[in-house]
C-alpha cells in the first residue's frame, strides 16, 4: 500500500540546511495498523506530512496505492489527499459553526459526490463511529471524544487507502482516548490501513506494529506481540465484536 524509498526532506532556512528526514525506507501493507513513534524533533511530523501528501520529499520515491506521488504538484496532491487519504488531527480540526454531518460530507463535496449520496455516506460513516444520533450537532456542542469521532468519520467517508492520525488522542482524557483507539481497532478489524503518529507508548500498544524514529531516521521497526484491546463502554453499546 505504502512504499517509501530513500525519502529525504531538507529544509533550507536562510543559509542553514536542516535535514528533517535522512533517507527513510518503509513499507506498509494493506490492512496494517502501524504506529510511528519518536520524540519531538525526530522527524515524525515531517514524515506524517509527506505520507499525507501535504508535502513532497526533497528526494526519494513514495508509492501510494501504486501511484508515485513524490513529484506531484499542488492540485494533484489535493486530489490524492481527497481520494486516498483520511486525516485525523490532534486538534480535531472540524469546521466550527458547521454540523457534524456537514463536516463529514466535506471531503465528498470536494470529490464531486452528489447531494443525496453524500448525505447517505456521511450518515453511514457517523454511524460507524457511534454518532448516529448526534449528526446535527455543531462541534462546540460535542465533547472532545465525540469531536474526534466526527473527525474519524470524516476521514473514513471517502473510503481512503490509508487513514493517517496525527496524535489523535493528544487532546483527550484517558477515557476518551480509549474510546478513540477502540474505534481505530474496529476500523482495522474491518480491513482499513491505519497509521498513527504518537509519542505515547500507551497508545502505540494498541497498534500491531511500531516504527520508531530518531533524528530523521528509522531506528526500530517491530511487531506488537500482544496488542492491548481498547475497552470502552461506548464500544459495548455499539455492539461491536472484535
Amino acid at each position: 500500500m505504502i512504499r517509501l524509498h530513500g525519502i529525504k526532506k531538507i529544509y533550507a532556512t536562510g543559509e542553514i540546511e536542516v535535514a528533517a528526514l535522512r533517507g527513510v525506507d518503509l513499507e506498509v501493507g494493506a490492512g496494517e495498523f502501524v504506529s510511528i513513534m519518536g520524540p519531538s524533533g525526530s522527524g515524525k511530523s515531517t514524515m506524517m506530512n509527506i505520507l499525507g501528501c501535504l508535502d513532497t520529499p526533497s528526494e526519494g520515491e513514495y508509492m501510494l496505492d501504486g501511484v508515485n506521488v513524490a513529484r506531484a504538484t499542488g492540485n494533484e496532491l489535493a486530489v490524492i489527499r481527497n481520494r486516498k487519504i483520511g486525516f485525523v488531527f490532534q486538534g480535531f480540526n472540524l469546521l466550527p459553526r458547521t454540523t457534524a454531518l456537514e463536516n463529514v460530507e466535506l471531503p465528498l463535496l470536494y470529490a464531486g459526490v452528489g447531494g443525496k449520496e453524500r448525505k447517505e455516506r456521511a450518515l453511514e460513516a457517523l454511524k460507524a463511529v457511534g454518532l448516529g444520533e448526534r449528526v446535527h450537532h455543531k462541534p462546540k456542542e460535542l465533547s472532545g471524544g465525540q469531536q474526534q469521532r466526527v473527525a474519524i468519520a470524516r476521514a473514513l467517508v471517502t473510503k481512503p487507502a490509508i487513514i493517517l492520525a496525527d496524535e489523535p488522542t493528544g487532546n483527550l482524557d484517558t477515557h476518551s482516548s480509549e474510546d478513540v483507539m477502540a474505534i481505530f481497532q474496529d476500523l482495522h478489524a474491518s480491513g482499513n490501513t491505519i497509521l498513527i503518529v504518537t509519542h505515547e507508548p500507551d497508545i502505540a500498544e494498541y497498534t500491531r506494529r511500531i516504527v520508531r524514529f530518531r533524528d530523521g531516521e528509522i531506528v526500530g521497526d517491530e511487531q506488537v506481540a500482544n496488542p492491548r484491546r481498547a475497552l470502552s463502554q461506548e464500544r459495548e453499546e455499539r455492539g461491536a465484536v472484535s
Binding site: N82, F87, L95, T98, E102, L109, Y110
Partner: protein, 406 residues
C-alpha cells in the same frame, strides 16, 4: 466541486457571520443607492427643465431690447427701449425662415370686476401670440387682427384670473366688462389651463391688443419682446440671422457697432441647460461612484480579515482535498454574493429614495434602466475585483502552515 456547491459553501460561510456580512454589504448598499438616487434626481431635473423650456413654444426665438446706456452705466439686457411696433413688419419680412411673429408689451395692472379685485400681468399682443405660444381657448375667442387695428378694448383672461375675480374658474365671464387700472375692457375669451409649466403661471394672465395696451395702459409705444417662430427646428439659426440683419437695417446700425437688441434662441438655451444638468448628473454620479468604490474596498478589507481569520478552515479544507481553485472560488463567490446582494438592496433603496426625494421636491425622478444595470454590473464587478486578491491569498496558502495557524 461544481459551481452550485461552491455557492452553497459560500452562502453558509456568510450566514455563519451574519452581522459582519451585513456591515460589509452596507458600503455597497449606500454606494449603489447613492448612484441611483443621484442620477435619477439629476435626470428628473433635466427632464423638468427641458419640458419647461419647450413649454415656451416650439422653435422659438425671443427678441429683447438691448442694454440702456446712461452716463456710462450699462443696464441689463432689455433695459433699453429700442423695439417698437415699426419693427414688426421688418421682422415679418426678414426671410423665409421666420414663420410667425408676435410682439408683446405688458405691465402689472389692478383688475376689478364687481366686488372681485386682483392684480396680474396684462400682456399686449397680437393674434399670432396664440399660435406661437400654443395658447388654446377654453371659451370665447382669442384676439384678432381687427382688434389690434381698431384699438379694441377687449381682453382674453386666464382661468386663474377668473378664479380670483369670481371665485370659480368656470364662472361665466365672457361678455362681461372688467376694469384694468380703471379702464373698462370687455372679456372675449378664457384661455385653457396650461398650468405653471414655464417660468411663470401661464393661467394668471390677461391678453389685450398691443395697440390698446400701449395707448391705454402703458402709455408708450415700446415693445418688450418679439416672439418669433422659426419655420422648423433646423431653420432656427437661419431665422436668427435673418432677424438680426433685418433689425440692424431697420435700426440703422453701422457695421462694427453692437446690436441694440438681443435674440434668445430656444434651442441654444435648451442646449446650455442640458449641458449644465449633464454636468450636474456627472458630478453627483461621480461623488456617488466614489462611495461605491469605498464600499468595494470595504469588501476587500473584510475579505482579507476573513481569510486570515479562517486560515485554519482553509488548511482543513485543503487537507481533505480542496484544490486551490475550490478555495479561490469559495472566497470569490463570497465577495460577489456580498456585493451583488448589496447592489440589489442598494437598487431598491436608491429607487425608493429617489422617488421619495422627487416627491418632496415636487419633481419626477426618472430612474433609467441603464443606471440600474450599470450600478448592478459595477457592484458585481467590484466583488470580483476586490475579491480576487483575498481569494488568491487564501488559495495560495500552504496547507501545513494553515493547519498549524493558531
Amino acid at each position: 466541486m461544481n459551481f452550485l456547491e461552491s455557492v452553497r459553501v459560500s452562502l453558509r460561510a456568510l450566514l455563519a457571520n451574519k452581522l459582519r456580512s451585513i456591515l460589509t454589504m452596507l458600503g455597497i448598499i449606500i454606494g449603489v443607492s447613492a448612484v441611483i438616487a443621484m442620477v435619477g434626481i439629476a435626470n428628473g431635473a433635466t427632464a423638468q427643465i427641458t419640458s419647461q423650456i419647450q413649454g415656451l413654444g416650439s422653435n422659438l426665438l425671443i427678441v429683447s431690447p438691448g442694454q440702456a446706456n446712461s452716463g456710462g452705466v450699462r443696464g441689463g439686457t432689455g433695459s433699453a427701449n429700442t423695439l417698437t411696433m415699426n419693427d414688426l413688419p421688418k421682422i415679418e419680412a426678414a426671410g423665409s425662415a421666420v414663420k410667425a411673429v408676435a410682439p408683446s408689451a405688458g405691465r402689472n395692472a389692478q383688475v376689478v370686476y364687481g366686488a372681485g379685485n386682483t392684480s396680474t400681468t396684462v400682456t399686449g399682443t397680437t393674434s399670432e401670440y396664440a399660435v406661437i405660444r400654443s395658447v388654446s381657448m377654453e371659451r370665447g375667442r382669442f384676439l384678432t387682427q381687427a382688434d389690434v387695428d381698431q384699438y379694441s378694448r377687449v381682453a382674453v383672461v386666464g382661468p386663474t384670473v377668473v378664479q380670483n375675480l369670481m371665485g370659480s374658474a368656470d364662472a361665466d365671464i365672457v361678455g362681461k366688462i372688467i376694469k384694468l387700472n380703471n379702464v373698462p375692457f370687455q372679456v372675449i375669451g378664457v384661455t385653457a389651463s396650461q398650468g405653471s409649466s414655464g417660468f411663470q403661471n401661464n393661467d394668471d394672465m390677461i391678453f389685450v391688443p398691443i395697440t390698446t395696451a400701449q395707448a391705454r395702459l402703458i402709455g408708450n409705444k415700446y415693445v418688450r419682446q418679439f416672439f418669433i417662430e422659426a419655420s422648423s427646428a433646423d431653420m432656427m439659426q437661419t431665422a436668427q440671422d435673418e432677424v438680426t440683419i433685418a433689425l440692424r437695417q431697420a435700426h440703422k446700425i453701422q457695421a462694427g457697432q453692437p446690436d441694440d437688441f438681443s435674440i434668445m434662441n430656444q434651442a441654444e438655451v435648451l442646449q446650455t441647460m442640458q449641458g449644465v444638468t449633464q454636468t450636474m448628473t456627472m458630478l453627483l454620479g461621480g461623488i456617488a461612484a466614489i462611495s461605491l468604490l469605498v464600499g468595494g474596498i470595504g469588501i476587500m478589507n473584510i475579505m482579507l480579515v476573513s481569510v486570515t481569520e479562517r486560515t485554519r478552515e482553509i488548511g482543513i479544507r485543503k487537507a481533505i482535498g480542496a484544490k486551490g481553485r475550490d478555495i479561490l472560488m469559495q472566497f470569490l463567490i463570497e465577495a460577489v454574493i456580498l456585493s451583488v446582494l448589496g447592489g440589489g438592496i442598494g437598487i431598491i433603496f436608491g429607487w425608493s429614495g429617489s422617488k421619495l426625494i422627487g416627491r418632496m421636491l415636487n419633481m419626477t425622478a426618472s430612474i433609467s434602466v441603464f443606471s440600474v444595470l450599470m450600478a448592478f454590473a459595477f457592484s458585481a464587478g467590484i466583488g470580483i475585483v476586490f475579491g480576487v486578491f483575498p481569494a488568491r491569498k487564501a488559495a495560495g496558502m500552504d496547507p501545513i502552515d494553515a493547519l498549524r495557524y493558531e
